[in-house]
Subunit: 136 residues, 6 copies
Amino acid sequence: MRIAVFRKAHFNAAHRLHNPDWTKEQNEAVFGICNNYNYHGHNYELEVKVTGEVDKDTGYLIDIKSLKELIYEEIELRLDHKNLNLDVPEFKNLNPTAENICYVIWNILRDKLDAKYELTVRLYETPRNYVEYWGE
Amino acid sequence: MRIAVFRKAHFNAAHRLHNPDWTKEQNEAVFGICNNYNYHGHNYELEVKVTGEVDKDTGYLIDIKSLKELIYEEIELRLDHKNLNLDVPEFKNLNPTAENICYVIWNILRDKLDAKYELTVRLYETPRNYVEYWGE
Amino acid sequence: MRIAVFRKAHFNAAHRLHNPDWTKEQNEAVFGICNNYNYHGHNYELEVKVTGEVDKDTGYLIDIKSLKELIYEEIELRLDHKNLNLDVPEFKNLNPTAENICYVIWNILRDKLDAKYELTVRLYETPRNYVEYWGE
Amino acid sequence: MRIAVFRKAHFNAAHRLHNPDWTKEQNEAVFGICNNYNYHGHNYELEVKVTGEVDKDTGYLIDIKSLKELIYEEIELRLDHKNLNLDVPEFKNLNPTAENICYVIWNILRDKLDAKYELTVRLYETPRNYVEYWGE
Amino acid sequence: MRIAVFRKAHFNAAHRLHNPDWTKEQNEAVFGICNNYNYHGHNYELEVKVTGEVDKDTGYLIDIKSLKELIYEEIELRLDHKNLNLDVPEFKNLNPTAENICYVIWNILRDKLDAKYELTVRLYETPRNYVEYWGE
Amino acid sequence: MRIAVFRKAHFNAAHRLHNPDWTKEQNEAVFGICNNYNYHGHNYELEVKVTGEVDKDTGYLIDIKSLKELIYEEIELRLDHKNLNLDVPEFKNLNPTAENICYVIWNILRDKLDAKYELTVRLYETPRNYVEYWGE
C-alpha cells in the first residue's frame, strides 16, 4: 500500500534576483522590480510530499511529527527571517528564484530523508506563483 | 480526450491513534497526544479525483451531482459526526490514521465507481497535514 | 493611536452537545448528530483580537510573540487534542457549543491579559460556522 | 533540472449548459439548474502549470511575467466578464462545461507556448468543483 | 452574555450592471465590462452574522441548522443558478450591484428572523471585492 | 442606506524591526529574529474598508475600479517590491512594524479619499498575524 503524505510549513525571507555576470541594464530588463538593490521579501509557503509504503504497526507512512521537526531544523532555521542572498550560503553563487530555492530545499531534505521515500517539494512564493521540484 | 474531475467534501469526526498490541508506554511514545484515551477530533476535508474520457453528448466526464451524492451516501453518512474508533466498523481493527482513513475511503468509493474511471483520494486532517492514495 | 492586533491559533478537539437535564429524545431533537454518544470533533481555528494604544518605542501594540505564547500556554495546552466534555474542567457543567467554548476562552485570556487591552475572541468550528464574543 | 512553474489567474463569466440536439426535458433532466435559460455564472479560478528545464542564466523555467501576460492576453481578455455561450466563438457548438472550458483554454495556451514546455491546465468552477486537462 | 454567530453560504448567479435611464455610452463609461449586454457571473459567498443572547438551556444563540435552512430557503433557492436581472423580481428595477444584492438579502432575512436578533450581511462578489450591510 | 465596501490588494516587501535609540542587545531582546541586520520580508495582504451612503443612480458606494486604482497608485507603487526601511521615506524614522505600516497606509489613503467616506485599513503580515487601524 503506497501512499503520499504532505506537510506544510512556511518561512519569511528577503531576496533579490540578480545575475552578477550581467550589466545593471540586463538585470533590470530581465528581473524588473525583483532586481531592487535593497531587496524585497515574501511569506514562502512550503509543501513537502513524501511517498512510500505504510507501516503496518503504526498505520503511518512517516511520523509527521518527525517530518515537521526535520523541516523546522533543516529549512526553517536556515531560511526563516533571513536574507537569502546575504545570509544563506547556498545562494552565494545561485540566484534565489523560486525555482532555485525549491531545488535547494529539495536537496537538503533529500540528504536527510530515508532513501526509501520519494520526495517532492512545492514552494509558493505568492498564492499565485509557485513551483514544484521532484528531483528528476 | 482524457480529463480529471475533482470534488471536495468534508466530515467532522473524533478519533484516537492506538495500537492494541502495544503497551500504554509504547502507544504514548509513538502517538503522543494523538493517543489521548478520551479521543480528539478533526474537520476532515476530502478531495475525490476521478479520471477518464469526456462524454461527447454531455461534455461531462461524470455528472458531478451524482459524484457529490455518492460521496454523501457512502462517506459522509458513514463518517460525519462519528467516532471513527467506536462507530465505524472499518476501524474496529485498523488504526484510524489519516493514511488508513484515506485507504478506507478509496476502497469504498472504488467499489461503487464505474470501473472505467481512475480514482485518487486526498484527505486533509488539518490544513497542514494531508495524505493521498491512488490504489497502487 | 488606537489599533487592533489579531493573532490566529488552532486546536483539534472532540466534543458532544448534550444537556443532562433533558431526556435522550429531547437531546436528539435539539442537537441532532452533534449529540452522538461517542463524540465527534473539529479543527477549531481561533482568532484573538487585542485593541489598545501603540507603544512609541517598539511600534507594537503588544509583542505578538508574547500573545502567541499566552494563547499556547492558556488555550492550546488546555484544549488541543482533548475531549472537551471529559478532559476540560470548564465544560464539566457547561455544554461545549461553539458559543460556550468561545466564552470560556475569552474569560481565560481576559484574566491573563493586561487590563489596558480590549479583547475579542472569534472561534471557527468549521470554515462555515463561527462565533465571536467580546465580553459585553 | 526539470521543474514545474504554476501561475494562477481568474475570470468571471456567465454560462448555461445545454445540448441543442436534445429536448427541453432531456436538458433539464441532465443539466438541472445549470440549464437555466437565462444563464448563471461563476468566478473561474485558473491554474496554469508549465514544466521544463530551468535556464542557468536566469534561474527561471519561464519568465512568470510573460506567462502572466500570455494568460491575460489569450484567456482573460477572451473570457472575463463574458457570456461563454453567446460571446465566445469557441463555445458556439461546444457545451461550456468545466471540462470543455478547460480543454479550450489548454488548446489556446498550447498554441502560444513554446513547444519545449509541457502544459497542464486546472480550472476551478467553484472551490469544490474543478477539472484538470494535460493534453493526453 | 451577548454573542455573534456567523454562517456562510454561497450561490452562483449571472448579472449585468445597467441603469436604464442612461444612454449606452453612459452605462459603458460607468460600468465598463460589468455592463456586458449578455451578462457575466460570479460565485457569490455570503456571510450572515446574527447577534443576541445565548440560551442557557441549549448553549446556542440560534440553532445553526435552522439558520442554514433559512438561508437556503430564502436566499439560495431565490438566487442560486439564476440571472439576477431577469429571474429575480427584486432586481426588476434595482441595479444588481454587490451593494444592492447585499441590501436585498438583508431585507429578506430581516423579515424572517426573530426581532430579538441583530443582523449583518456580508457578500463577497469575488475574494477581493465585498460589501457589508447592517440595516443602519 | 449606509454600507461598507471592501477591496483587497497585496504587496511584497522587505523590512527589519529596529529602534536606533537602543543598543544591539536591546533590539535583539525585543525584536528577536525580526531584527536581522540583513532584513527579511513578507507578502503583505491589504484590506481597505470604505463606509458611506450608496449612490442611487449607480447602486455603488464607490466605484471599486477607482478604489483599486487609488490603492495601486498610492500604496502598491510605493511599497511593492521595496525595502520599507531603505526605500520608503515614511519609515526613515518610523519602525516598520505591522502597526506602523497600517497607520502609514491609512494616512496616505485618508488624504486621497473623499471626506464623506469612513476608512478602515487591515494589514496581514502573515495569515496568522494582522492589524487594523481606523483613525481613532
